[in-house]
């Protein structure tokens, strides 16, 4: 059993506070991603879990043991680094077997474990190569092999796919996910890419400026974000925000009336932010008129950037549309999937 409990963890560099009391509960076998823009403290938190950064306050427990004062070697974690961090003077096999060698494991046993991991990761033919002789994707796999050979309590991934090209990133994403399903090891995965977070995680932790904004299952975060930051961060293309006023017959943004499912009576008359995802805006015969600014066909879908009530709004069309910049289209946001936020605090209403 290896659950991870992060309780009120803080990190400060002198007077600068990087983490302001972060608490996260990670269950045994769970795949958790820490996601947020750069500088939000997610990598710092991961490095604190690994024991590479000192913990300024709070406690971290791995498998019920407080590890605050333990060096990395005594935490039984395996970390995969962004730049792979392979040992350049060792072959692939030596890289993967290094942790076992340090534990004085029997040579034959090391060989067996390395070969098994190499088979899982399709590295069998590369075992005698040096890191410099490998491509980026292969290096990434060696880095993962080095982690799984050890059979640790927890895997820590620090933006492992950010150096790969887009296509490889998608296939490695699936590989890591299936690896997790196969091994069932508790995993903490740091990324700034919300698509990675959404597709891989059992649970997502959204962070900003050293604070946890929301914790939840990927679809829970997508369906009911607690504030505008999470709403804008999760989902691609990002959610549209329009400021205006809540009326009993809809939402008034400038002179445009947008559909809204019957609002709670106490909200009527109040200023708010109207949040709607691009994929929840219908484009058709009726609805509010908007002028097309940009058309971005991706093949499967077409993104339209339109001007609505003086603000830019993105919407997605599944069908091919015969529209160009300057044309008028009619939009009908799905009233059942509207999010309302407080304009000052950004909190969900």
């Amino acid at each position: 059993m290896a659950s991870v409990e992060i309780h009120n963890v803080q990190k400060s560099y002198g007077t600068l506070k990087a983490l302001h009391g972060v608490s996260i509960q990670i269950d045994d076998g769970e795949f958790v991603t820490l996601v947020g823009p750069s500088g939000c403290g997610k990598s710092t938190l991961l490095r604190m879990l690994a024991g590479l950064e000192e913990i300024s306050g709070g406690t971290i427990r791995i498998a019920e043991t407080v590890v605050n004062e333990l060096p990395p070697k005594d935490r039984d974690i395996a970390m995969v680094f962004q730049n792979y961090a392979l040992y350049p003077h060792m072959t692939v096999a030596e890289n993967m077997g290094f942790a076992l060698k340090l534990k004085n494991t029997d040579k034959r046993e090391i060989q067996g474990k390395v070969e098994r991991a190499a088979r899982i990761l399709n590295l069998d033919t590369l075992l005698q190569r040096y890191p410099r002789q490998l491509s980026g994707g292969q290096r990434q796999r060696v880095a993962m092999g080095r982690a799984i050979v050890r059979d640790p309590k927890v895997f820590l991934f620090d933006e492992p796919l950010s150096n790969l090209d887009a296509k490889l990133r998608v296939s490695m994403r699936a590989e890591i996910k299936s690896l997790h399903q196969r091994l069932g090891t508790t995993t903490v995965y740091v990324t700034h890419d919300q698509v990675e977070a959404m597709t891989m995680a059992d649970k997502i932790v959204v962070m900003r400026d050293g604070v946890v904004e929301q914790v939840g299952a990927p679809l829970a975060l997508y369906d009911s974000p607690v504030n505008m930051f999470v709403a804008g961060f999760i989902g691609s293309p990002a959610m549209n925000f329009l400021t205006g006023e809540i009326r009993d017959d809809g939402f008034l943004a400038g002179d445009v009336r947008l559909p809204l499912a019957a609002p709670a009576p106490e909200l009527v008359g109040r200023r708010a932010v109207y949040g709607v995802r691009p994929e929840h805006i219908g484009i058709g015969e009726d609805g509010v008129a908007a002028e097309v600014c940009v058309v971005e066909p991706t093949g499967a879908e077409t993104y339209l950037v339109v001007r609505l009530a003086g603000q830019e709004v993105t919407c997605v069309a599944r069908d091919r549309l015969d529209v160009r910049a300057g044309h008028m289209v009619r939009l009908s946001p799905d009233p059942g999937r509207i999010h309302l936020f407080d304009p000052q605090s950004g909190r969900r209403l």
Partner: protein, 305 residues
């Protein structure tokens, strides 16, 4: 016909390198050819002019027959091995320690480089004062802790130990500087990965830092070895080759025959021999590296899979 851009830049590169080549070959090459010629000649000065007589290998035979020459080669070899090993090991240890220390990092970089900045004459003076049998600090220190004092520069073994210590003290900073810079360039993530892999401090040094520093260590060994063979000034001022010629390094021996005995042919032959020996050593070193590159092996080769 107009030259293309690439041709022009290639011609430019060649013509601009030429003056330096001419300078090096002109200054170094000419005198070097002269030394080689002298090595195979008997030379006398008569009426202010060199009188040349072909000597074949006479000068080299004379060297082989000269006990002091052979001794100087042996004592130089001992000196080089001892100073290279001590200064590289010390430099490495210092580099590892300084890099780890947070608070003393800056100040120690400056202090540790200090000996290398001091002129050799001053170094000799400092060590004469330290090693002096009567007023020297070292003997006073030994006396205070009730250990037997020594006439350091007066005994043969004492003098050899003394010049090794002085050279190590003087030039370890160079080894430190080279290894420290290389150490700062070692990928920090690889070290962190090793820590996560379960390595303790010693294992990080043994399996990660030292192997990754190997190119720098080899470079430092080469440079320190060359410095050792050329070492002259501190020894000349400290012991002048004595007592009883015990610290006659090759450089001191060559100076003696060339400038005191005016035996130009012999001195040149010894210089040529020295260069040949060093080229041989460097060639052997490069051959070993080449062989290692073809069939690489490393400190952690045991993990075969």
């Amino acid at each position: 016909m107009a030259l293309t851009f690439w041709r022009r830049s290639s011609v430019f590169a060649k013509t601009t390198t030429l003056p330096f080549l001419v300078l090096i070959v002109g200054v170094g090459g000419y005198s070097w050819a002269q030394v080689v010629l002298m090595a195979f000649s008997h030379l006398r000065i008569e009426a202010g002019e060199f009188v040349w007589q072909p000597a074949g290998f006479d000068n080299f035979r004379e060297i082989l027959a000269n006990e002091l020459a052979m001794y100087s080669l042996a004592v130089t070899a001992l000196f080089v091995v001892a100073t290279v090993v001590l200064s590289v090991v010390l430099g490495l240890v210092l580099a590892l320690l300084v890099q780890r220390s947070r608070r003393l990092n800056r100040i120690s970089q400056v202090v540790l480089l200090w000996p290398a900045i001091v002129a050799p004459v001053v170094v000799s003076l400092i060590w004469l004062l330290i090693l002096s049998p009567n007023i020297g600090v070292l003997n006073k220190l030994l006396d205070t802790v009730r250990l037997p004092t020594q006439d350091w520069l007066g005994t043969e073994a004492g003098a050899i130990v003394a010049i090794i210590i002085v050279d190590v003290w003087h030039w370890t900073p160079v080894a430190f500087l080279m290894l420290y810079t290389a150490l700062c360039a070692v990928d920090e993530e690889a070290i962190e990965a090793a820590r996560c892999d379960g390595a303790n401090e010693w294992q990080v040094i043994r399996y990660i830092k030292i192997p990754m520093l190997m190119p720098a260590i080899i470079g430092t060994v080469f440079i320190r070895a060359i410095m050792g063979v050329k070492a002259f000034d501190e020894m000349y001022l400290l012991t002048a080759g004595g007592p009883n010629g015990a610290t006659t390094l090759v450089s001191l021996h060559i100076r003696d025959v060339f400038f005191d005995q005016l035996n130009y042919g012999y001195g040149s032959a010894f210089s040529v021999l020295l260069v040949a020996l060093m080229s041989l050593a460097i060639g052997a070193g490069m051959l070993v590296r080449h062989l290692r590159a073809i069939r690489p092996f490393s400190a952690t080769r045991e993990v075969e899979a």
